[in-house]
């Protein structure tokens, strides 16, 4: 039962893995282009395992931004993960012990969360944690493998197809737009608009990583404003 649940989770991760692999590959290529050590590039994917924020982390690392700014920006971007864990925990049996929650928490990415929320309630309670573990394993392996391949072959591929360098510049905007479109706008539109406008304006006056931080903080403060958008 346990092994079968894990196997089913791995199989269900294939669509996520198919989407992750090319993005992770482009991350590996971007790491090479940014002049980051190959080991650091792989470690970012292996340790942080958080799509969009990894590209930002890469950009800030290569630009020489200060440690507090890099860490704060990365963590603020990943702060939405605070919303995921509780929902997942509510779907698992209270008494479940294996795999332990600290292990299941590591692989709780956006796509894994979305897939898990859609499937967990269809599974028997005793199978859920193992299925989730399998789902996370498939996604994680695809992410790390894609990164390694991008780092190993990225330089040659970009030299051969220089247009790839420019094309990869759209990966991040596309990723963030997709994440924005996945949001529940009834709950967050004021925060989104304030963050976007403040970032847009400040980009012309201060370094981009400071504009991002100011935009995020302004957006969070915007949540205090009364109105339907912040219900």
């Amino acid at each position: 039962m346990t092994a079968r649940s894990v196997r089913e989770g791995v199989l269900d991760s294939l669509p996520i893995a198919a989407g992750y692999f090319p993005i992770a590959f482009s991350f590996g290529v971007s790491a090479v282009q940014a002049g980051i050590s190959p080991l650091i590039g792989v470690l970012i994917s292996a340790v942080v395992f958080a799509g969009g924020s990894q590209f930002v982390l890469l950009g800030l690392l290569s630009s020489g931004a200060a440690l507090p700014a890099v860490v704060a920006t990365t963590l603020l971007m990943n702060a939405r993960h605070l919303l995921y864990g509780r929902r997942i925990a509510q779907s698992l049996p209270v008494s479940h012990a294996s795999p332990p929650k600290p292990l299941l928490a590591f692989g709780l990415t956006d796509e894994v969360f979305a897939c898990a929320i859609g499937r967990l309630h269809d599974l028997a309670e005793t199978e859920r944690a193992h299925w989730l573990f399998g789902l996370q394993c498939g996604a994680y392996l695809a992410w790390v493998a894609g990164t390694i391949l991008g780092i190993l072959t990225g330089a040659q591929i970009v030299d051969r197809f220089p247009i790839l360098r420019d094309a990869l510049g759209f990966v991040l905007p596309a990723l963030f737009l997709s994440l924005l479109l996945n949001l529940d706008w009834r709950d967050s539109r004021v925060s989104v608009l304030i963050a976007a406008i403040v970032t847009l304006v400040l980009t012309f006056f201060v370094p981009v990583h400071l504009a991002i931080l100011a935009g995020i903080v302004s957006g969070i403060c915007g949540a205090a404003l009364p109105g339907r958008g912040n219900a």
Partner: protein, 107 residues
């Protein structure tokens, strides 16, 4: 360029921090759903994504040609998101559209 140990420390801090952001709510599943704290924590993610989207998009705008290509690629991303949902597929299709348009403009 930052030295190896400095980069390693940053990666470790980001990894530990991200992990704690995922783990902490799993360990404390009970609590109230409403209130200011809930509203603020709910706004963090959307605000971060919006700010990063704007910051990453701006370098892709400028000339009419660049802006047109970026606009079409953004529309492709939106349409793909509406058709397939999720994040991975729209991201890939939007990027492929952007790359193809760049090739067309050069040829």
């Amino acid at each position: 360029m930052r030295d190896f140990s400095g980069a390693l420390a940053i990666v470790a801090l980001c990894g530990i921090g991200t992990y704690l952001l995922r783990l902490t709510p799993m360990l404390y599943r009970s609590g109230s759903d409403g209130g200011a704290a809930s509203r603020f924590s709910g706004a963090v993610g959307p605000a971060a994504i919006a700010a990063l989207f704007v910051a990453m998009l701006l370098p892709l705008l400028g000339t009419v040609g660049k802006t047109s290509i970026t606009t079409v690629a953004l529309l492709t991303t939106i349409i793909a998101q509406r058709m397939f949902g999720g994040v991975a597929m729209p991201t890939m299709l939007g990027t492929v559209a952007y790359g193809l348009l760049l090739v067309l403009r050069m040829s």
